[in-house]
């Protein structure tokens, strides 16, 4: 039997009930004192976790884990175990600690972001972002490390300038977390007020590459203009400044998607006078609406006899009453802003839900067959050599290892699908006529828990490729 690993990762199949259980070591024994004045369900699960079947007649039971009843009153049960008898030989053990393991996806997640500097040190110059460090002029080597280069300590050296150090690189709109490495020592940006805990007693610096502008014309005599919205949990954001004598402007990073908002002018909440998109919030208030991201056009040709066609998907909680399509000459269309990602959807016509007849990519079977769409796809999967297969699908960590997968399209014997993958590691397999297999074109694979293989791929963070 091929052994996959020489490191043991023991997994909790049953976290012990921590409620009302105290442990103490006494000589060779571990004593567990269990408080019995708890709900019965809780006691039952605690007792089971010690290897007994139930509290009733516990003295007659034998624990699979070697615990023995030492004493029992109406309020307390004491179990004991000879700790040396724990002979399961495991040199490696994992425990349920709280280890701060933050990945790049989590670090760069943000609904919105505004920069703040003591003295500006990061500059957006077109598509290039220039980082500067006007200090440590005598250092030998300085590197920039952050979420955009996988926290590499080597990939982005900075070059010496008259005042210190600088480097420019292309970064996409969004939140970027970074630090400088000065002669081997990590240093947060001393000029940047935006920072977060680095999990090591220090700070990481944060820079947002903006993608949205709020404009408010007029209000020349106002003293303060803020914006608040669904993205700030309706907390006012002092974002806007006098752009000119008679207009206000604020620049920020705003996450892709649809957002409700309002301006607050000297304490008074107003709709955006320049924005015709206004919606009721369900409680009698009206809000302005804006959206960030690419517009996708849902199209359904034909069905001209229908009075109403709607579209729904996992992007709107499968609410078939919400999104009504617009009639066009050849059929129906609905423009809709979606953030980068993979979505499933269906149309509803004449009371029936149907998949998109013009979309070769689908997921599921029978009544549960949904169409699949990728917004801002960044990875194309190709399978050659199976021209005669009937159905080829892709399944992996990005779609919860869906049993049916996302189907690929066959063009001249080559199967293909493009989807969006966030930065990080992804596992996947093809399903060819029901048979699961790894990607023959990918030399990277791992053994999985079924002792078969998974293909793996890494997607670099934004700004790396």
């Amino acid at each position: 039997m091929r052994i996959a690993s020489l490191w043991l990762l023991l997994l909790p199949i049953l976290a012990s009930g921590q409620n009302g259980v105290n442990y103490k070591i006494s000589g060779d024994y571990i004593l567990a004192t269990i408080q019995l004045n708890q709900p019965k369900a809780q006691i039952d699960s605690i007792v089971k976790s010690f290897g007994f079947s139930e509290l009733e007649k516990i003295e007659t039971q034998k624990s699979e884990l070697g615990w023995v009843v030492k004493s029992r009153t109406t309020s307390i049960l004491v179990l004991s175990q000879n700790k040396k008898k724990n002979t399961k030989e495991l040199p490696n053990a994992y425990t349920m600690g709280d280890i701060n393991s933050v990945d790049i996806q989590a670090q760069t997640r943000a609904d919105y972001g505004v920069n703040s500097f003591k003295q500006r040190s990061v500059f957006t110059e077109g598509s290039q972002i220039r980082f500067t460090l006007n200090a440590h002029q005598k250092a030998k080597q300085v590197y920039l490390s952050g979420t955009f280069n996988g926290w590499s300590t080597l990939a982005t050296p900075m070059r010496k300038t008259a005042n210190g150090w600088e480097v420019a690189l292309p970064l996409e709109a969004g939140k970027h977390v970074y630090k400088f490495i000065v002669d081997g020592k990590w240093l947060h940006d001393p000029q940047n007020n935006k920072r977060e805990d680095d999990g090591n007693g220090g700070y990481n610096s944060v820079y947002f590459v903006a993608n949205y502008v709020f404009d408010l014309a007029g209000f020349a005599t106002a003293k303060k203009v803020s914006v608040a919205g669904s993205f700030t949990n309706w907390q006012p954001l002092n974002l806007l400044f006098n752009e000119s004598t008679n207009s206000w402007r604020g620049v920020l990073y705003l996450r892709e998607g649809t957002h409700a908002y309002k301006f607050i002018v000297d304490g008074k909440w107003i709709l955006d006078p320049a924005n015709s998109v206004v919606r009721d919030d369900g409680s009698g208030n009206k809000n302005s609406f804006t959206s960030v991201g690419d517009t996708f056009y849902f199209r359904l040709p034909g069905f001209l006899e229908a009075k109403k066609i709607t579209v729904a998907g996992d992007f709107n909680g499968w609410n078939f009453d919400e999104l009504t399509m617009l009639r066009s000459k050849q059929g129906w269309v609905l423009p809709y802003v979606l953030p980068a990602g993979n979505f499933q959807y269906k149309f509803q016509a004449f009371g029936k839900k149907i998949a998109d007849p013009n979309n070769p990519h689908a997921c599921g079977t029978g009544d549960f067959r949904n169409s699949v769409l990728a917004v801002k796809p960044n990875k194309t999967f190709v399978l050659r050599g199976f021209a005669n297969a009937k159905v080829v699908a892709l399944s992996g960590s990005f779609n919860g290892w869906n049993q049916d997968g996302f189907t690929l399209e066959n063009t001249n014997g080559v199967w293909q699908i493009s989807i969006f993958l966030p930065p990080g590691k992804h596992h996947y397999k093809f399903i060819v006529d029901g048979k699961w297999m790894i990607d023959p074109a990918n030399e990277l694979w791992e053994e999985n828990e079924y002792k078969t293989k998974n293909s793996i791929l890494w997607v670099e963070g934004p700004g790396l490729n």
Binding site: I3, L6, V21, N86, K88, T95, M96, I99, K425, L444
Partner: protein
């Protein structure tokens, strides 16, 4: 290709129930080789000191290095005796020797021993060194970082290795360069010994003589479960977990905090620790392993591992909090 059957009990760990991997599980582990490499790696370094900044993933120190044409992060792991490569990225490497070892439960293990042309860690270079190829995929999946392998002890035994978690870097000193600064970095010492390229701290903990493995790859400390009672007196058990073992059996692990450890004449406070049976490791190596000191020990303050003089040097302090 030499196939050797070795009748040593090699402890082998298996990945259990991967879908249940909970995130943020502390990793404790060291690499169990079937046989030491025949060749000792010879480092080439033109400078007297080399600073290696590391990326902290969980409580692991990741250092960028290049093996032949691949550059990426390696775990700085004194629990590994030499260079170990992550099989996912090094499958093409031919084996120079195959070892079939007998593990616990009579499971046979294939260990692939290979050779790499070059290992570069910034200015530090090695040529033609031996490495094991092993499955380290669960380390990647657990820490969500691409891990190309482990940098083990025998790569660094020519240097004095300074580990500073606050500065987040490791500094390699030539013995001569370290001499010049050693009084400044500390006057407190802990004797160590090197056995099978494992760094062992020999000391007295709360009255009992112990042999502890110094393992930079251990994200949490470990205590064996058969030590004298005095050792456990300051150990507060906070949690008991039942884990699934290699052949489906249930294994208990007790975790908590060792409030106070008196190691020789240094006092360490509040180290997260788990208690488990370490006799298996002891059997394999042929010497007792009473515990493992890792991150929880390192984070108390900079330490300097002087392999030549067989000691760990650090600042003298009343206690290490």
């Amino acid at each position: 290709m030499v196939k050797q059957s070795i009748n040593i009990l090699v402890f082998v760990q298996l990945i259990c129930m991967q879908p249940l991997i909970a995130q943020d599980q502390p990793i404790v582990g060291w690499y169990m080789p079937a046989m030491m490499p025949a060749k000792v790696p010879v480092p080439q370094l033109d400078v007297q000191t080399l600073v290696l900044p590391f990326y902290k993933a969980g409580n692991l120190m990741l250092i960028e290095a290049t093996v032949d044409d691949q550059t990426g992060y390696f775990i700085f792991d004194t629990g590994a005796p030499y260079l170990v490569l992550n099989r996912t990225y090094f499958r093409k490497y031919p084996s120079i020797a195959n070892y079939t070892a007998l593990g616990i439960s009579n499971i046979e293990v294939d260990i692939v021993r290979t050779s790499v042309k070059a290992l570069n860690i910034r200015a530090l270079e090695y040529q033609n060194i031996e490495a094991d190829v092993a499955d380290l995929s669960h380390l990647e999946n657990n820490r969500k970082v691409k891990i190309l392998g482990l940098l083990g002890t025998n790569l660094f035994t020519d240097f004095v290795v300074g580990i500073d978690f606050k500065a987040q870097n490791i500094t390699l000193y030539s013995p001569e360069a370290f001499q010049k600064i050693s009084a400044k970095v500390g006057t407190a010492t802990l004797p160590i010994s090197l056995r099978n390229n494992l760094v062992l701290i020999n000391g007295v903990v709360n009255g009992q003589k112990v042999q502890l493995v110094f393992d930079t790859g251990a994200e949490i400390n470990v205590l064996g479960n058969d030590l004298a009672e005095a050792v456990y007196e300051p150990f507060i058990i906070q949690k008991r977990s039942t884990l699934s073992g290699s052949v489906g059996e249930e294994i208990e692990v007790f975790s908590g905090v060792l409030m106070r450890m008196l190691l020789n004449n240094h006092i360490y406070l509040n180290m997260k620790t788990i208690m488990t049976n370490l006799s298996g490791i002891g059997k394999v190596y042929g010497f007792r392993v009473d515990g493992i000191l890792g991150y929880e020990f390192l984070v108390k303050g900079p330490v300097y591992i002087d392999f030549k003089n067989r000691q760990i040097i650090m600042q003298k302090k009343e206690f290490y909090e």
